[in-house]
Symmetry: C2
Subunit: 277 residues, 2 copies
């Protein structure tokens, strides 16, 4: 299920998102001193989501991590969905903002895309926050400001850039999501991608004996020019590059797909510039 942003009272949501740290005047209010804080809850939420995924993020789990009950959180945060918004914007603060445009916009955008990709893999749950109703927090705007600055160096008009920004985000999110979900699935089910693929493709061959007649191009796409390491009958003796066993095969494939796809998109942007110029 996708989580929607911004359902509660807009003013309270925005105040929470943009709350400033410096404004901690000498507290003077009746009632027991609060032992928790919005920040502590947001941090605990991120810790839970990083460690066990968005599916394991429950108010009970976050409360437990802080030694409280689930209901204690509602003093600080209006609802779970607002907590997720706060977690999202807080995590986004990790993204770098200071890219050097001197080597050209293409290098800068490439660095940005790679940093963003790595960020998504550090916090895969971020990919499950809906983009339809943006959170509108400081760090979301900060991240947007960062890419936009790099892209204005192309000297393309704003109307074209609005579309290109969207395309880049869709692409980075989409490719990162593939890897993130693969890891999540592996962790959640205890079955690695390789094991999963092996058992499935074996069964597929049994259940669908005429597979290669029905989908010849899929077969060709998946086998031609593959430097592989066993598990599906391809040659595993002559792989040329030193083989890094720490990263699973499918994940390295996904990273390459990301790099090649990014290059294709950047080529397309350059073509747009030449057409406009």
């Amino acid at each position: 299920m996708v989580l929607f942003a911004g359902q509660g009272d807009p003013h309270r949501s925005m105040s929470l998102l943009w709350r400033k740290e410096g404004s901690a005047g000498p507290r003077s209010a009746p009632g027991p001193k609060p032992a928790l804080s919005v920040d502590a809850i947001v941090d605990a939420g991120i810790a839970v989501a990083d460690a066990e995924g968005m599916a394991a993020l429950s108010m009970r789990a976050v409360g437990e991590r802080l030694g409280r009950t689930a209901m204690a959180l509602y003093t600080y945060v209006p609802s779970k969905s607002e907590l997720v918004d706060l977690m999202y914007d807080h995590a986004l603060a990790e993204l770098p903002t200071d890219y050097d445009l001197a080597p050209g916009w293409r290098a800068a955008v490439t660095s940005w895309a790679e940093d963003t990709w790595e960020f998504y893999l550090r916090h895969p749950w971020v990919l499950q926050v809906s983009q339809a109703r943006p959170v509108l927090g400081p760090n979301e705007y900060g991240a947007l400001e960062t890419v936009v600055r790099l892209l204005y160096a192309t000297e393309l008009p704003s109307a074209a850039l609005r579309r290109i920004v969207g395309t880049l985000f869709h692409f980075v999110r989409g490719s990162a999501q593939t890897v993130a979900e693969a890891r999540l699935a592996a962790a959640a089910t205890g079955v690695s991608d390789e094991e999963w693929w092996q058992s499935r493709s074996t069964v597929l061959g049994e259940v669908v004996p005429d597979f290669s007649d029905r989908f010849p191009l899929v077969i060709r796409l998946e086998t031609e020019g593959v430097a592989h390491h066993g598990t599906d009958g391809a040659n595993d003796t002559d792989s040329s590059a030193p083989y890094d066993d720490s990263v699973p095969y499918l994940e390295r494939e996904a990273k390459t797909t990301f790099e090649v796809g990014l290059a294709v998109i950047l080529d397309g942007i350059e073509a747009t510039i030449h057409k406009a110029g």
Copy 2:
């Protein structure tokens, strides 16, 4: 939450996915005659998901639509996640497969992308099925075979095409997701995109008075060259094209983003061809 494919017994899953319609021999088994069928359940599931979204898809809801309890479904389908897999592959059968390559691969891929985009908007819940562990059903392979056929017309090597296929899918899914989630959010919350944006941006201006100093390029990106129709103070008197009020502004923006982004990617593919050739 994202739903993972393929957790149960692989053989049972595959048999369900690839089950053939013709094999209905004269039934001869003890026990009451089954009133339901896998197909009826899958259709009911799709009906629920189309009408009320993936979040409303519960075993109870599907059973209710068939006049049964939730538990009745478990005779036919091993679990909810397997039901979603079956729904996914069944829905994919709607996608066209017979694109004409005579006008060139670019036109064919453009048609494919637009048909796929429209398919996702007809069945937005499809976008919430994880891509990490593919369902491996007949229609998923059919859809893949279709794109791959179009792309082999570029005469690029398989290794390059593997990446390009992924890039295209990420892009189409990502852009469709924006619109799909926006509609879903509007339906779920009862607040239209325009209303939502209006109230949020008003509050944003109050809570963050120095917004335009902190994010000048975001402001520039969002205001420059916008042909708008009210709601945010832009000029709404001189829009040139006949205005179609039946489609919300943000959705038309998203469609344009899709078209421009697709053109950028296709330009990138052409650049790759010229480099390789």
